[in-house]
Symmetry: C2
Subunit: 276 residues, 2 copies
């Protein structure tokens, strides 16, 4: 791991690193916020997965999360949103596929199958790396925004033993049934829609054995609400199978980080409670 920068914030430290990733076979950058408590004890970790076009920096610069993280003694780890450094056909042509749009799946379609293993990276490699290099416990929670909200939900639903809690802002809850998901899953997973369901929160809830409660905030003035996000699909299946969900529709809020900032403190408190 190579330290890229180290910046003091709210008494703790925001550090950015790059490292050679085994799972995505390329150099990856991530950020970790270590609260002041990490100087004397091990602290639990919240993983934050960002949305389309983002890097590790959007959340760290715009979410305003470190004040509360410093108060609660919570580390926050922000990975990038895709492998970088390759140049596959169509990889850099659109904002919703390829670079910046890894969708937190393990791709099976060549050439993306060579490196686009963001699921393995986020669930396995990165926590192992973080836990071996920083003063953190093995208690993990996960959250994210939009594509990253989808990522947080599927990582937690597929691994309820790995995460103490999960939450999401404006998540793509049903990617098998919306344009963003259909484009990405076709490109990464192929034409067979049956295999897509393994990477769709609404489908996964239906067969989940452990019932990790879901906390979701969704802005009602979000431009992507009707066509892409469709939280009612997840809500309906949760109701059907009895999966606990708190879906808060927030009047007037859009899809931006101004929305996330407005409610991030409540998410951090939710995770901190589950982690302690």
């Amino acid at each position: 791991m190579e330290l890229l920068s180290s910046t003091k914030s709210f008494g703790g430290w925001l550090k950015r690193y790059k490292h050679e990733s085994v799972s995505v076979k390329s150099e990856m950058t991530f950020a970790i916020y270590l609260p002041p408590q990490a100087e004397t004890q091990s602290v639990p970790v919240l993983y934050w997965l960002s949305g389309l076009t983002c890097t590790d920096e959007n959340f760290t610069q715009k979410a305003g999360a470190f004040r509360k993280a410093a108060e609660l003694g919570l580390a926050i780890v922000c990975p990038d949103t895709s492998p970088r450094g390759t140049d596959y056909p169509n990889e850099h042509d659109s904002y919703d596929f390829g670079s910046g749009a890894g969708f937190y799946v393990n791709a099976t379609v060549a050439p993306y199958s060579n490196t686009y293993h963001m699921y393995d990276y986020v669930v396995q490699e990165l926590p192992k790396l973080v836990e071996s290099h920083f003063p953190v416990t093995d208690k993990r929670s996960i959250s994210g925004h939009s594509m990253g909200g989808h990522g947080a939900l599927i990582c937690a639903l597929k691994n309820p033993d790995v995460y103490q809690s999960v939450s999401a802002f404006s998540p793509i809850v049903n990617p098998t049934q919306c344009p963003w998901g259909e484009k990405a899953f076709t490109g990464y997973l192929g034409e067979d829609r049956a295999v897509w369901t393994e990477w769709d929160a609404t489908c996964l809830v239906e067969t989940a054995e452990e019932r990790l409660p879901l906390l979701i905030d969704q802005g009602e003035a979000d431009n992507f609400l009707v066509e892409q996000l469709k939280p009612e699909a997840l809500e309906a299946v949760c109701e059907k199978v009895g999966h606990p969900i708190t879906l808060r529709r927030q009047p007037g809020y859009d899809h931006s980080y101004f929305f996330i900032a407005s409610f991030i403190d409540e998410h951090l408190e939710f995770h901190s409670k589950a982690l302690s």
Copy 2:
């Protein structure tokens, strides 16, 4: 005024506008955060002046200030850092002169003297515009960062009747004696250093008749501290003439918005107290 965007944040609204400015004779963009209280009453206003290369957006996206502003019932107005839309010799060649670097003075050297009147814009035109269009009182405070910290200090020292309070992060306190200031003042004000002193906080304190207390936060790990910022110059003259100053040297903090975010709440509380 033309509304560019309107975004809900912490129960209030962040609005961006553009308008034809009389003082700088060009189209200017500014942002205003209206806290939830502004829906039912008039609220006081903090003016925030940004640093080199910034627009109205750096503070709104990175300072994490709206949570506390919403709590205190404080509007925040963020102007741009220079006129835009002209193409003078050298105007766009460097980060520390011309566009994005208006230094909050009234330029007297042609051609900058045609439009670079950021002082008039910030002290007179913008407050008049804001107070005639929004539910705000005529109580004003001012703060800023780096070049904007310099701006906040000179605006308040030259107009102690206009502002209830002033604070700054990492301000250029003595621009007549540092490379950034010397370059800008030569370009905007000419070679005669005697006229520069009208735009230098350390010089203005020496002759100030009203003694508005100064609150300044300065990171000790700030890369610009020794060569450009030199807070000890202001501190010394304040001590000499008995001008009240609280200069807080913050160990480990740098020049970034991560530093500003860490202490912005305390500045907002300081201003809110003076404004109420």
